[in-house]
């Protein structure tokens, strides 16, 4: 039996000026279950809260309604008041008389009538309230960072520096991602490798970071604070404990194949490090090409290895570990322009390359030793055409979004080209020049001053004309067709989510957006969180970004992780879904709508009405995952799954109370 107390707040004159609080309090006395009702000047004030506590004792109240401001302001305050008054904090409902009544109305009589109605709703609801208790779940003070590009490394370092253990996973033989492949970074033109490789080393040497290169996350279970993760480490065929990284094997390996790191423009041995500063600085064997592993012949590397570290019988290995938080930093790939852009030759012209090829070319440690050379004949191009928005902002053929970094790196490329080739001409075909960033537009301006020619328009065709590439396009500013006989064409291809990122997201338990980028929990207010509690986003996996933005976001994600890992246990919100197993028929519809994968079918064993033991499925809610949205409750026809604090009977009572 509920003994309800109702407290009407004047909020000074904020409410009292438009609502006759005494009248409301008086009316409330007549509502079923109300044992005490009164109005007061400031309920949220110290004496106001004391008044509630005293009344609880004095009138032996077991449920409270406070009619004052918006619950978004003081619900928490009054819940604490109840707790201090010896009641369960959830035996409380709040009526919004200020924001949603007194402030928006002027007719005192009507406003008062409405106020009475609103209080009646709260009383009707609280009459059905039940005591709720929040449980706690432990937090494993260890973070998992997936992807060791600049974003992943930054997040890992920030978390590790805060004193938490971090496991950093990357599927490549080396960490670092794409940044070390780049030559210089805009707008400061400092050497990309010079600022990224030290970070790689720092990561490798950090006492709190466990590095797992050449590894992939293959399974994720559990929930915030308690993610059980299975990680596969691919077969390296080299014992990295014994290996000193001397590199002798690489020099002696007889077979050379195109080097992925140089996008096939250079060669590497079959036992290799992707590049000299790779971290870990120890080789792996490429099983597809290694003579020993493919044909059983050779075995040179094993013979020359001074420490006997080569293991042709190596196999992939698995570890499982538990993490409190996960940071996704899976990065991007470049759009496969060859598949759709026939007007640019479907990739059949060797001298039509992507921006990343260009980066490797101008990079002193790249395949051409920093010389810009035509892939076809190795000659130095005199005229280079840069085409922006290849795959980006092209809803007809490819992606409708803007890849954000291309305007700047194209400006950088044009600058680098004219810089290295004084007598050269750089033409840039663009749709817009987007340079929102500190010192970005100045950089673009300087590229123009360097002599790069910007043509506003799309390129309609590229074709080989002897040794030249004829680029036909439009200069939409003068409304004329233009034709450039180029030696080389550089395409600023769109960023797309890295291969396999969708599968990974599904394994972790959330869905990417339409374009495959990882969807943030809220586009404005929760930009580094995912819908799955405890999983955060860093870098381009969330959407195209340049390096500064990626690093900044990584820091933000790290702070969220540290905030989480600073607690040893989490208090769960008790206002979550709960199943009434006697009513649940196990149809599982609720499972399919839950945004948090919080509901699972679980089998229970009981006796049926004939007394036979039977085993059947019922929905069971994981309180660690459930966020209390209630989407499941509506799919449940008999209301077997219900939302604590917003139960069906509570809401129905509120509705009914308005007209009874």
């Amino acid at each position: 039996m509920k003994r309800i107390g109702v407290f009407i707040c004047h909020c000074g004159s904020n409410i009292a000026a438009t609502v006759d609080c005494a009248k409301v309090a008086e009316a409330a006395k007549a509502f079923p279950g109300v044992f005490f009702s009164s109005d007061y000047k400031y309920m949220c004030s110290e004496p106001g809260q004391e008044f509630i506590k005293d009344s609880i004792k004095k009138y032996d109240l077991n449920a409270i309604v406070v009619a004052s401001c918006t619950p978004r302001m003081h619900e928490h305050t009054f819940r604490k008041t109840l707790a201090n008054g010896g009641l369960n904090p959830y035996m409380f409902e709040m009526t919004n008389l200020r924001e949603q009544c007194s402030w928006v109305h002027s007719d005192i009589e009507k406003a008062t009538d409405k106020a009475i109605d609103l209080v009646r709703m709260s009383v009707a609801k609280v009459a059905k309230n039940e005591e709720l208790f929040s449980t706690t779940i432990p937090v494993h003070k260890k973070a998992l960072v997936i992807g060791a590009g600049i974003a992943g490394m930054q997040a890992a370092l920030d978390i590790a520096d805060a004193g938490h253990k971090v496991v950093l996973v990357d599927r490549e033989p080396t960490i670092g991602g794409k940044m070390p492949m780049l030559d210089k970074t805009f707008p400061t033109m400092d050497c990309s490798a010079c600022i990224s490789t030290p970070k790689m080393v720092e990561v490798a040497q950090h006492p709190n970071i466990e590095l797992m290169a050449y590894s992939e996350v293959i399974e994720v279970n559990g929930f915030i604070g308690n993610f059980d993760v299975k990680i596969k480490t691919k077969a390296k065929y080299v014992d990295h404990v014994k290996c000193t990284g001397c590199g002798l094997c690489e020099t002696k390996c007889p077979k050379k194949v195109p080097n992925e790191y140089d996008l096939g423009m250079g060669l590497r041995s079959c036992i290799y490090k992707p590049f000299p500063q790779a971290v870990p600085n120890k080789p792996v064997i490429d099983a597809q090409n290694c003579l020993k592993l493919t044909s059983g012949k050779c075995g040179v590397c094993a013979r020359v290895c001074p420490t006997g570290a080569v293991r042709y019988d190596d196999t992939e290995s698995f570890i499982t570990d538990t993490f409190g938080a996960i940071v996704m930093a899976t990065g991007y790939d470049l759009y496969k322009w060859e598949d759709v852009y026939g007007e640019y030759g479907y990739g059949k012209y060797p001298d039509v390359v992507t921006g990343l090829h260009f980066e490797r070319m101008v990079n002193a440690s790249g395949p051409t030793g920093g010389k810009i050379k035509r892939p076809s004949d190795g000659t130095t191009p005199k005229t280079v055409v840069f085409i922006k928005c290849v795959g980006s902002r092209d809803s007809a053929k490819a992606k409708s979004y803007c890849s954000r970094a291309c305007c700047m790196y194209t400006a950088k490329h044009a600058h680098q080209f004219v810089d290295k080739t004084p007598e050269g001409n750089a033409y840039v075909f663009y749709m817009d020049v987007r340079t929102p960033g500190k010192a970005y537009d100045e950089f673009y301006e300087s590229t123009l001053r360097d002599g790069a020619v910007y043509l506003r328009g799309r390129v309609s065709k590229i074709y080989q004309d002897g040794g030249k590439l004829i680029v036909k396009g439009e200069d939409s500013l003068i409304g004329k067709q233009v034709e450039v006989a180029a030696d080389m064409v550089v395409l600023a291809t769109a960023m797309v989510p890295s291969a396999g990122s969708r599968e990974l997201a599904q394994a972790v338990g959330f869905l990417p957006d339409l374009n495959g980028w990882y969807q943030e929990a809220h586009p404005k207010l929760r930009p580094v969180e995912t819908p799955t509690a405890g999983v955060f986003l860093a870098g381009t996996c969330q959407g195209p970004k340049d390096i500064p933005d990626s690093v900044a976001q990584a820091g933000a994600a790290a702070v969220k992780v540290c905030g989480l890992l600073s607690k040893s246990e989490l208090e769960t919100n008790p206002m979550t879904a709960r199943t009434n197993t006697t009513v649940c028929s196990g149809c599982g519809i609720c499972v399919s709508v839950c945004p948090y994968k919080a509901i699972q079918l679980q089998s229970i064993t009981e006796r049926d009405h004939h007394g036979h033991r039977i085993t059947r499925n019922v929905a069971s809610v994981n309180n660690g995952l459930c966020q209390g949205c209630g989407a499941c409750t509506v799919t449940c026809r008999p209301g077997a799954i219900d939302l604590q604090g917003f139960k069906n009977d509570q809401i129905l009572e509120e509705v009914d109370s308005l007209w009874t």
């Binding site: 919004n96 989407a631 939302l643």
Partner: protein
């Protein structure tokens, strides 16, 4: 209802508002001291996806003259996907109500963000005007 009642009749409209967008939109309207008719009674739910279409039937049965369901804009849902389900459910329910003879103007679903105080005001004001125009709801009313 006799004539006298008819004259002093004021519609009573129930508005289900999701806690994160529409309810705070309504709060913002209050902070800005925007004025709208007193006929609205807001019922707070965590997410528009918590609103069971059966509640709408129940409200009309008990005597509601109009019902509004308001939630975050698609894509902005605090629970990321809740309002996509809301959208499907009420696209269907709206049509079912109409089919069973309820004037379509009596039920509305709207996306109102936490910043759209003005939209909240205009939405509920319009709803009130419409319903005042079509008069009290006598359909689905339980025989009391």
């Amino acid at each position: 209802m006799d004539v006298i009642e008819e004259q002093k009749w004021e519609p009573k409209i129930l508005a289900f508002c999701c806690n994160w967008c529409s309810y705070s939109g309504a709060d913002l309207a209050g902070l800005n001291r925007m004025k709208y008719p007193e006929n609205i009674r807001i019922l707070r739910v965590p997410c528009s996806a918590r609103v069971n279409p059966q509640y709408i039937l129940r409200a009309f049965q008990k005597g509601a003259d109009g019902v509004l369901v308001a939630g975050c804009h698609p894509g902005d849902c605090h629970y990321s996907t809740g309002n996509y389900y809301t959208r499907r459910r009420f696209l269907i329910m709206k049509r079912l109500l109409e089919y069973s003879g309820i004037d379509p103007r009596r039920f509305q679903a709207r996306w109102v963000s936490g910043a759209e105080a003005e939209k909240f005001r205009t939405t509920v004001t319009k709803l009130c005007e419409d319903i005042k125009a079509i008069g009290p709801n006598r359909k689905l009313r339980g025989l009391k």
